[in-house]
């Protein structure tokens, strides 16, 4: 361990706490400063700075052969203090978070016309960013709980910023689910602490055993996190919450917040409490994931509202993430790449899609799919983004979604779990059918009474969404890029945290 | 030693009874009041467990302020219900 920490790495580690401090500082400034234009430009500048930091970290991680960055906060080493950890996997997720949050920041600058809403949005948005970066960097179980609460509460407040009854109801339900999930997680943390007297993840990874208490703890934590990640039977809160939030918030919730909870779950299963996991448990989770794909797709196909359609598509896509579990259990080296790919591809595609849909909804004044026929001629850019993001969600060739599914195919064949392939294929077909339903309507000529009137400047804020949509294609064309980083990371450390 | 253990047992039973009462009472107000008393009982438990800091925080924040929040919200919803009720009555009269 000591030979890894040479001088450039130690200096580079200094960037880690900045990922948390920077958004936190900006949240305070946004809360205190009244002028919304200052806040907007400052936010965009910080977003760029944040992205640069993340880029520096990833390039350092690559150039140092996938070294694991650790940083003991306050100089207190692990069991006493809290340490931040960054490995190749979390570096990629962090870079993705920085990119998407910059895109959403730029988009929100255009989106919020109401000054009151904008003033409430910015501080909460930066708090959400703090929590997300904190989750991807955290190396401590209790710290993860606090981060989860911060993420949950800021997410809830963001849903409720437009004060409409439906938004408040959705926010209330989301809050109850969030608090309940965090408490289940905290119960698991308490059980772990009861058994090992430790909270630090890398130390736990070294000492954890497969005893009954650890299994119980992992079960409770998984249950809480699965509830927050909205896997099939526990997804009931997601469509309302994601559909009634303002578009930038829906984008953030779908693209980033779900990934935050999934990341914790994934890390707990495959790098911290691995001795307590069983193939049966992983398969059960995978089975629910498979049902989620079918159920979410069918619901997306039958719904009338465009935003609900995208929200149900999230339910389906979350299913794929959980199918990774049984594959990961048997063939971790390969599946880790699929996980990283899937997370990045889905996050970029879903964020772009929600932004495009938000734009359509705002310009057309509604999001009834039936009344949107012919929208493509009025808002070509929005539909274009929707289509590109859709390509990635379906898993068609030149996209990140395709690569992710391809690797999942391979590892399913390799581990002789061919039955998951059926769900991958059927899920792809189903998502194609519900997405083409929208695209088909968008290109038909509308009847006279359903004409949509659009002002010329309707698509100004979509540039960032376009960039995200292009990213989903670029990572598909340049498949080796993310996989290389993951492979480099695998050489020096086992999966998640260093041991 | 033996007396201490007896006391702990009694306290645990009291806490469980109060919790059951608070959670499964049909009347909301009773539930809130029982919850506040649960907070006080738990405070004693924290003292028994040598956690004085936590006991102070529990009695001020856990029992006191959470209780005040619950009572405030309860009061507000009662008033809201009354208003709603009167509106409903006037509406039916108008019809």
């Amino acid at each position: 361990m000591t030979n890894l920490i040479d001088i450039p790495l130690a200096t580079a580690s200094q960037i880690l706490p900045l990922h948390i401090l920077l958004p936190l500082l900006l949240a305070i400034i946004c809360f205190l400063v009244k002028s919304s234009s200052i806040v907007k430009w400052l936010s965009i500048a910080t977003g760029i700075l944040h992205l640069l930091f993340a880029l520096v970290l990833v390039s350092l991680a690559v150039s140092q052969n996938g070294a694991v960055f650790t940083y003991s906060i306050g100089g207190w080493d692990a069991p006493l203090g809290i340490s931040l950890i960054l490995n190749a996997f979390s570096a990629i997720v962090l870079l993705m978070t920085a990119t998407i949050s910059l895109a959403i920041t730029i988009y929100s600058g255009h989106y919020f016309k109401d000054v009151e809403q904008a003033r409430r949005f910015w501080p909460l948005w930066w708090l959400l960013n703090t929590a997300l970066c904190g989750i991807f960097l955290s190396g401590d179980l209790f710290n993860l709980y606090v981060m989860l609460e911060l993420m949950g509460l800021s997410g809830v407040s963001l849903i409720a910023i437009n004060k409409s009854q439906s938004a408040i109801k959705a926010a209330y339900q989301y809050l109850l689910v969030g608090l309940f999930g965090s408490l289940l997680f905290l119960f698991g943390v308490a059980l772990i602490y009861r058994e090992y007297g430790l909270l630090d993840l890398s130390m736990l990874a070294a000492t954890a055993q497969g005893s009954l208490l650890t299994k119980c703890a992992l079960g409770f934590m998984s249950l809480g996190l699965i509830l927050k990640t909205a896997l099939y039977p526990l997804h009931f809160w997601l469509p309302d919450a994601h559909a009634s939030a303002p578009a930038p918030v829906s984008a953030a919730l779908s693209a980033l917040v779900l990934k935050g909870t999934f990341y914790i779950l994934f890390m707990l299963w495959f790098s911290v409490l691995t001795p307590a996991t069983t193939f049966l448990g992983a398969s059960i989770i995978g089975a629910f994931g498979a049902i989620a794909i079918l159920w979410g797709s069918v619901k997306a196909f039958t719904t009338d509202k465009l935003k609900l359609l995208v929200a149900y598509s999230t339910v389906a896509q979350v299913g794929y993430l959980f199918i990774l579990f049984p594959l990961m259990y048997q063939y971790p080296t390969k599946t880790l790449g699929a996980a990283a790919y899937f997370i990045v591809a889905h996050a970029c595609a879903k964020a772009a899609m929600f932004m495009a849909v938000g734009n359509i909804q705002r310009v057309a004044g509604h999001d009834d799919i039936k009344r949107l026929s012919g929208i493509a001629s009025h808002m070509p850019l929005s539909i274009f983004i929707f289509a590109i993001a859709g390509v990635s969600l379906m898993g068609l060739p030149p996209s990140g979604g395709f690569i992710a599914k391809w690797i999942m195919f391979e590892s399913a064949l390799e581990t002789k779990q061919w039955w998951w392939i059926i769900f991958l294929v059927v899920g792809g077909l189903l998502s194609a059918s519900y997405l083409f339903r929208v695209l088909n309507l968008a290109f038909t000529t509308p009847t006279v009474e359903h004409q949509v009137h659009v002002s010329s400047s309707a698509e100004g804020g979509l540039l960032s969404a376009l960039v995200l949509a292009v990213i989903t294609i670029v990572i598909g064309l340049n498949a080796m890029w993310i996989l290389d980083i993951i492979d480099i990371g695998l050489v020096t450390s086992t999966l998640g945290t260093d041991k | 030693m033996w007396i201490n253990l007896m006391f702990d047992c009694l306290l645990v039973v009291l806490i469980l009874v109060l919790a059951t009462g608070a959670l499964f009472s049909t009347n909301v107000f009773t539930g809130i009041v029982l919850f506040i008393s649960l907070g006080l009982a738990v405070t004693i438990a924290w003292i028994r467990l040598n956690a004085i800091d936590v006991a102070i925080a529990e009695v001020t924040i856990g029992a006191g302020l959470t209780g005040a929040l619950f009572l405030g919200a309860w009061k507000r919803l009662e008033i809201k219900k009354r208003l709603q009720h009167s509106i409903n009555i006037t509406e039916t009269k108008n019809d």
């Binding site: 940083y71 306050g74 208490l213 119980c216 | 009061k75 008033i79 709603q84």
Partner: protein
């Protein structure tokens, strides 16, 4: 009629299944707990070994504001988040004349005595936190309780949206970040206080945190309770 009966019996069955499942789960956890030996107690020794450098002698304060100050920073962020979320609801009230609040003289004179006492107690709590049980959270809660007492006797505070109130809500974080910046200049490490000053810096952060926590808790109460106006607003 049959339908309604069916749905209640279905609900009863559902409730029964939930209760059975959770009881079994709890039984399993309790069995596992009783099987597990007590954990090794490394934390106590570690804290005892390092408490000299932490600047305070109360181990809990040392944990909260030095060893694991990062958690506390984020906890202040949680509070900050709640205050941002609660502010817009401050004026949206439907209360009519309320009987929880009174204007009768005995209560008011009691409050006049109690309020300064609570403030004094809060100050003591804050100061004592560095070597005995106590600290910012407890002091903040006491201060908020004082605010609550004042509200109950109709001594209200207005315009919590103003700049000064907003800076009080964010005060804990601002002071904390100032301290972080200051100590970074000394030690070049995130959240590592200079040893000679750490006691004072911790007190500084706790001082700010007390006000923020009190203000936020008070704000929570006010926004939950709603604005007291004489039957002005009606639920739509």
């Amino acid at each position: 009629m049959i339908n309604a009966h069916d749905s209640t019996s279905l609900k009863n069955r559902y409730v029964f299944i939930i209760i059975m499942a959770i009881s079994m789960l709890a039984g399993c956890v309790i069995y596992a707990l009783l099987q597990t030996p007590a954990p090794q107690n490394i934390m106590y020794d570690l804290v005892q070994a390092n408490i000299q450098q932490s600047g305070v002698t109360n181990p809990v304060t040392a944990i909260l504001l030095n060893f694991r100050a990062y958690d506390t920073l984020l906890e202040f962020a949680v509070f900050f988040c709640v205050s941002i979320a609660s502010l817009p609801y401050l004026d949206a009230g439907v209360s009519d004349s309320s009987d929880l609040e009174t204007q009768d003289a005995p209560l008011f004179s009691l409050v006049k005595v109690l309020a300064p006492l609570t403030i004094l107690l809060a100050g003591y709590m804050l100061w004592v936190g560095s070597f005995k049980p106590g600290g910012a959270f407890q002091a903040g809660a006491l201060l908020a309780g004082c605010g609550l007492l004042l509200t109950l006797s109709n001594v209200g505070v207005t315009r919590m949206n103003g700049f000064w109130w907003r800076s009080i809500f964010s005060m804990s974080l601002i002071f904390f970040i100032l301290v972080i910046g200051f100590s970074y200049l000394h030690s070049h490490t995130f959240l590592m206080y200079p040893t000679t000053l750490s006691g004072r810096l911790i007190l500084f952060v706790e001082f700010a945190a007390t006000f923020s926590i009190a203000a936020t808790l008070y704000l929570c109460y006010l926004s939950v309770r709603g604005k007291v106006s004489q039957g002005a607003h009606r639920a739509s």
